[in-house]
Symmetry: C2
Subunit: 310 residues, 2 copies
């Protein structure tokens, strides 16, 4: 099956900035008490109601390592089809087998920018990770799934510190040889700043021309929203966020939540950037997460209220 | 005494972006249990150690209305002189009398952009507030104090909603007739976005050419840091922040903390903008505030840690 004949996301986004909600995956993978499958599906249905059309629903990783995602098949089996492009995170061959069997529309495959973090996160060096990504991309494509290559820790590594732009540039060049449908650059530990967004966007434009760009920001040091707005101002792109701002990486010390979908909506909407989303279900869901998770989620708009009030 | 012969801040800032720490005033004015004068002075001394050279130390308001600032004279009497320009917030004639008697270097005088909020905050209409500011500015200047006019709720009002840019533009034009040393535009309730920063900076450039611009952002809806970076990118300016991100307005519902001084430092520093500050005392102070205030302050860098670690 050629690239062109593979299915596009079921509903095209309304604007040049698309928000992917990753809360069912990145948002919940770090919860000490795994969230029930029923609650995950309630969460997912709320996202659909809000107009989210790409959702990272789960990850196909070993349940011993990430028990929070042990119900990946059960979640996938219950996903309503037709209006949303469903994404699964995949780290290895077995994960891809499961994602294909589960009938997802897209796989998000991760290469970590530094060797130390790569070994801790997925047991391979970065370059072994690229070789794996290349094999997985070909198999996913053959199975009719769209592919995203995510370069994790592209803004900095919790173990090695600074990640030179030259390193990320080289990784982009090598990864795009496997023809991803999308290139994602991830600030996995929330250390990035807008200067890096601009630099990395330049690297992506040079090494991956024509490949849609996706950004994954955490707000660990209060830079995530400035990063997201910078990315949106640079041109059409896709932004990851999680409703409530929940999330974190199980293998990165002190990693905290993603940027919150509802707070990102506010920033973009008030800045004149339409995302096609309905804010009210997102606010309701953020408040509901407070009770499901048993703590106050990091997103702020649900507490502070819309402005102007409506 | 002419404008030119009045004293400049004791130490000129090292860069084009200056940070004023407002934590002793805006940061503490909303605490249910007033912080002791001793702890305020400990806080202030930490800010000096970090290199802050303009500090909003207190407000001279009626102790019945804001009991947290009832010790304004005691705080002022203990301030070390010579390295820092000390600012007091003033809302009326009596407040100015007290600020002058206390020997402060600067007064920050507030005009609220909407009538409803103005009446709740200081008992006058906006235009009565401008008349008051005009009288206070003349008196402060005669007494040798530098003056800042702050236009509060310039980005939106908790009672009236949207504040048109034309309204703020008109207020700027009227306020600068009294020759402030500085014009501050305040997002008092944390609703602003970068688009407004750019629009308001344009209004200031048109109506108040040559008058240094100062910005006051709250992070209530996670837009404060993007706003601050936008302001810094537009040119030389001064940014208010509070260590730990503490703060809020007693008369604005759901107002929350200022942008955190240490998180602002991180955003600017990693983005290549030098503020001349030493981050370590700020991180220590943010952690100390957790214990003094009895809750986790909103600033995130002190918890997440510097990057790269140092």
């Amino acid at each position: 099956m050629s690239i062109d004949s593979r299915p596009a996301p079921a509903t095209e986004p309304n604007s040049e900035i698309t928000i992917i909600d990753v809360s069912p995956r990145d948002g919940l993978q770090n919860e000490k008490t795994p969230v029930s499958t029923d609650n995950k599906l309630t969460l997912i249905n709320s996202l659909i109601t809000a107009g989210i059309r790409r959702i990272e629903a789960t990850s196909f990783v070993h349940p011993r390592l990430v028990p929070q995602m042990a119900d990946a098949e059960a979640v996938a089996a219950a996903l309503p089809r037709g209006h949303v492009s469903w994404i699964g995170l995949v780290l290895n061959e077995r994960g891809l087998d499961r994602a294909i069997a589960a009938g997802l529309d897209e796989v998000n495959i991760v290469v970590v920018a530094t060797d130390t973090f790569s070994r801790k996160n997925q047991g391979t060096s970065t370059h072994q990770g690229i070789e794996l990504w290349t094999r997985l991309a070909a198999r996913a494509r053959s199975a009719g799934l769209r592919t995203t290559i995510t370069i994790a820790a592209a803004f900095g590594c919790p173990f090695e510190g600074e990640v030179p732009i030259t390193r990320v540039t080289e990784l982009i060049a090598r990864c795009v040889q496997a023809q991803p449908d999308e290139l994602a650059l991830a600030d996995t530990i929330g250390v990035g700043v807008p200067r890096q967004v601009t630099e990395l966007a330049g690297a992506a434009a040079a090494e991956a021309p024509g490949i849609p760009l996706r950004w994954h920001f955490h707000n660990t040091r209060n830079t995530g929203y400035a990063n997201a707005l910078t990315a949106a101002a640079l041109g059409p792109c896709t932004l990851d966020a999680s409703v409530g701002g929940i999330g974190g990486c199980p293998f990165a010390p002190a990693a905290t939540g993603n940027i919150a979908t509802e707070d990102l909506w506010y920033l973009l909407d008030r800045n004149g950037i339409d995302t096609g989303l309905d804010i009210h279900p997102l606010l309701d869901t953020a408040k509901w997460l407070d009770t499901v998770l048993g703590y106050r989620v990091p997103g702020q708009l649900a507490r502070a209220g819309l402005f102007p009030a409506s």
